[in-house]
């Protein structure tokens, strides 16, 4: 076996291609190899976990949209048109499930790999950079989110809950939302030292789900509360998805997209810094 041969150039030449480029210390352009790794792990993982991510929003839709919705009838959208209650909450559930999936992947899964699997230490002993790891893990979360969003749309569309053709954009919308939450979630997870700490994440998530205009418009709140909620990412996400599925796009829709673009950029910056501090100290 020869250890020194032409292929030595392999690993070294590959790393040197980025030599001198901005960010070469933390990004090597190989996030996809983390996704490949997730795919290997996924092949042997439990299908129940995968299925639950799809089933959850469907159950909510059945219970609230059709169960409770039958008693409520119609509500009016932002243009004042009447829409069924199920069509009103369906995009909110899509946005929420995008958020939940992203947060689950970037907190529980990442926490486990950080502290028990020691996966990132292993990866960062190779020529991978910290941002490669972050992007790879987030990329995998988005791939899952994308699949769930398609599944949910396949259920919603025949039920007549997507009245507008713009609705097709709710799928990339869900990916955008998941990207925002996942990029921040990973950074937050880096601060958590125990499973108890993880409960704080849920403590924040559940009320955000219940009160962010998911089930009713914010107009019933006093101004100070309404403005606070409007600043939260889930409200932004729900408004974006609702505008797309109901076809009520306006200037505000662009602002929601911008909100997530900023959240993604900030989240990646924050997560990269945290992972650097944690693994390359």
């Amino acid at each position: 076996m020869s250890m020194i041969n032409a292929a030595v150039d392999g690993a070294i030449a590959i790393a040197e291609r980025r030599s001198g480029k901005i960010g070469a210390e933390f990004y090597q352009g190989r996030a996809r190899t983390m996704i490949e790794r997730s795919f290997f792990a996924f092949k042997t993982s439990s299908w129940m976990v995968v299925l639950s991510g799809f089933v959850e929003p469907v159950f909510y839709l059945l219970a609230f949209g059709f169960g409770l919705g039958g008693m409520i009838g119609t509500v009016s959208d932002s243009n004042g048109h009447a829409v069924s209650y199920a069509a009103y909450i369906a995009p909110a559930l899509l946005a929420t499930s995008a958020m939940n999936g992203a947060i689950y992947d970037s907190t529980w899964n990442v926490f486990f790999k950080m502290h028990f699997g020691k996966l990132y230490q292993t990866v960062l002993a190779t020529s991978m950079g910290v941002l490669d790891v972050a992007m790879g893990e987030i990329g995998w979360a988005l791939l899952r989110g994308f699949t769930y969003a398609i599944g949910f749309m396949i259920v919603m569309t025949p039920l007549g809950l997507i009245p507008s053709w713009w609705g097709i954009l709710a799928i990339p919308g869900a990916v955008l939302i998941a990207f925002g939450f996942a990029s921040i979630g990973m950074g937050i997870t880096s601060y958590l030292k125990s499973f108890q700490g993880m409960n704080w994440v849920n403590f924040f998530m559940l009320p955000m789900f219940l009160f962010s205009g998911t089930f009713y418009p914010l107009t019933i709140y006093p101004d100070w509360l309404r403005i606070t909620i409007e600043a939260l990412p889930l409200w932004q996400a729900i408004q974006l998805e609702r505008a797309l599925t109901l076809g009520t796009l306006d200037a505000g829709t662009a602002l929601h997209v911008l909100y997530f673009a900023v959240m993604i950029a900030g989240g990646l910056w924050f997560t990269t810094r945290r992972l650097n501090a944690l693994f390359l100290k």
């Binding site: 076996m1 020869s2 250890m3 020194i4 041969n5 292929a7 030595v8 392999g10 690993a11 070294i12 590959i14 790393a15 040197e16 980025r18 030599s19 070469a24 210390e25 090597q28 190989r30 190899t33 490949e36 790794r37 290997f40 792990a41 042997t44 993982s45 699997g117 020691k118 996966l119 230490q121 292993t122 990866v123 960062l124 002993a125 190779t126 020529s127 991978m128 950079g129 693994f279 390359l280 100290k281």
Partner: protein, 304 residues
């Protein structure tokens, strides 16, 4: 290949590595010895570009690990103290994905992994989950994994701790073969026989500093005598006997259970002891080893 000048690492108010200087040449097997907490692993991590130094200079193949981390790591094979395999993946997948992290091609890896499984004697385990491997197999897999990028420098942090003698000897053989092929080895170990077997040159560290540096034989010559005589008079009489024989040999070291006499010729010293009318319960003459050097330099107190 590796040059460290006044290298320092401080964690909060704890100084793990306190201004050390050393150099590792190409093709050499270089050892870092020292008790727990001496700063060996911290030094290893700084070389492996996974820990930033606090001050001083460090250059690996002419590059600075604080700024060229991924580039330096592309040259290195790393065998950490604890096996950190991806337990969700199988043996083959572990090697494959590790190679992918370096950006290596699928085709190259498929051939390479056949070679590595052969090297680690794990051909039959290729489709087994890592969890199901024995300790020795896991260790061999870690070393095989460290070779996937055909590194110029292989970093081994206590490579044989926890292995049975059979597994240790197989590993030594493998490491020796790598060295013959020109791979530079950097090894930390607690086992002095391992250091004597594998290392061309080594440093002994204690409390973040270098206590001694040189080839194993040189160090023995410098810090110990040729032979060591171990005599036991029984724990109640040892102190008294030590007082009587303190001028024999080059140096004596009374321990609670026995007395060590460092001398050129151990048998001769034993004769002298008999002539003095002392009758040790047991006596043993042996060659001086690296362990004697180590204990002399780092003391006999336990550190945790």
């Amino acid at each position: 290949m590796i040059v460290a000048k006044d290298l320092k690492k401080v964690f909060g108010d704890f100084t793990a590595v306190n201004g050390i200087n050393f150099e590792v040449k190409k093709g050499e097997a270089f050892g870092l010895l020292g008790p727990n907490g001496a700063g060996k692993s911290t030094t290893m991590r700084m070389i492996a570009a996974t820990s930033l130094r606090t001050s001083g200079e460090l250059s690996i193949l002419g590059k600075d690990p604080n700024h060229n981390g991924p580039e330096i790591r592309a040259h290195l094979g790393v065998v950490p103290q604890q096996d950190n395999h991806d337990n969700e993946l199988k043996v083959w997948e572990n090697l494959y994905i590790y190679g992918r992290y370096f950006g290596l091609g699928r085709k190259f890896l498929k051939n390479k992994i056949v070679e590595l499984l052969d090297f680690a004697q794990l051909q039959e385990k290729r489709d087994v989950k890592v969890d199901a491997l024995s300790g020795g197999m896991k260790r061999r897999l870690t070393i095989a994994r460290g070779l996937v990028n055909e590194p110029e420098i292989l970093m081994l942090d206590e490579p044989t701790t926890g292995l049975d003698p059979q597994a240790r000897h197989i590993l030594w053989d493998r490491l020796f073969r790598l060295k013959e092929q020109g791979v530079t080895l950097v090894i930390t170990t607690h086992y002095m026989d391992e250091a004597e077997q594998l290392c061309d040159r080594l440093i002994v560290m204690d409390k973040g500093q270098i206590m001694a540096e040189g080839a194993p034989a040189e160090l023995i010559k410098k810090y110990s005598s040729k032979e060591v005589l171990e005599v036991r008079f029984g724990s109640t009489k040892n102190a008294e006997a030590a007082e009587q024989i303190k001028n024999l040999g080059d140096r004596i070291e009374p321990l609670p259970d026995r007395i060590l006499v460092y001398a050129e010729d151990g048998e001769k010293v034993l004769e002298q002891i008999h002539k003095m009318g002392l009758q040790p319960q047991t006596s043993l003459v042996r060659r001086s080893s690296l362990e004697d050097v180590f204990l002399r330099l780092t003391g006999r107190t336990l550190v945790d």
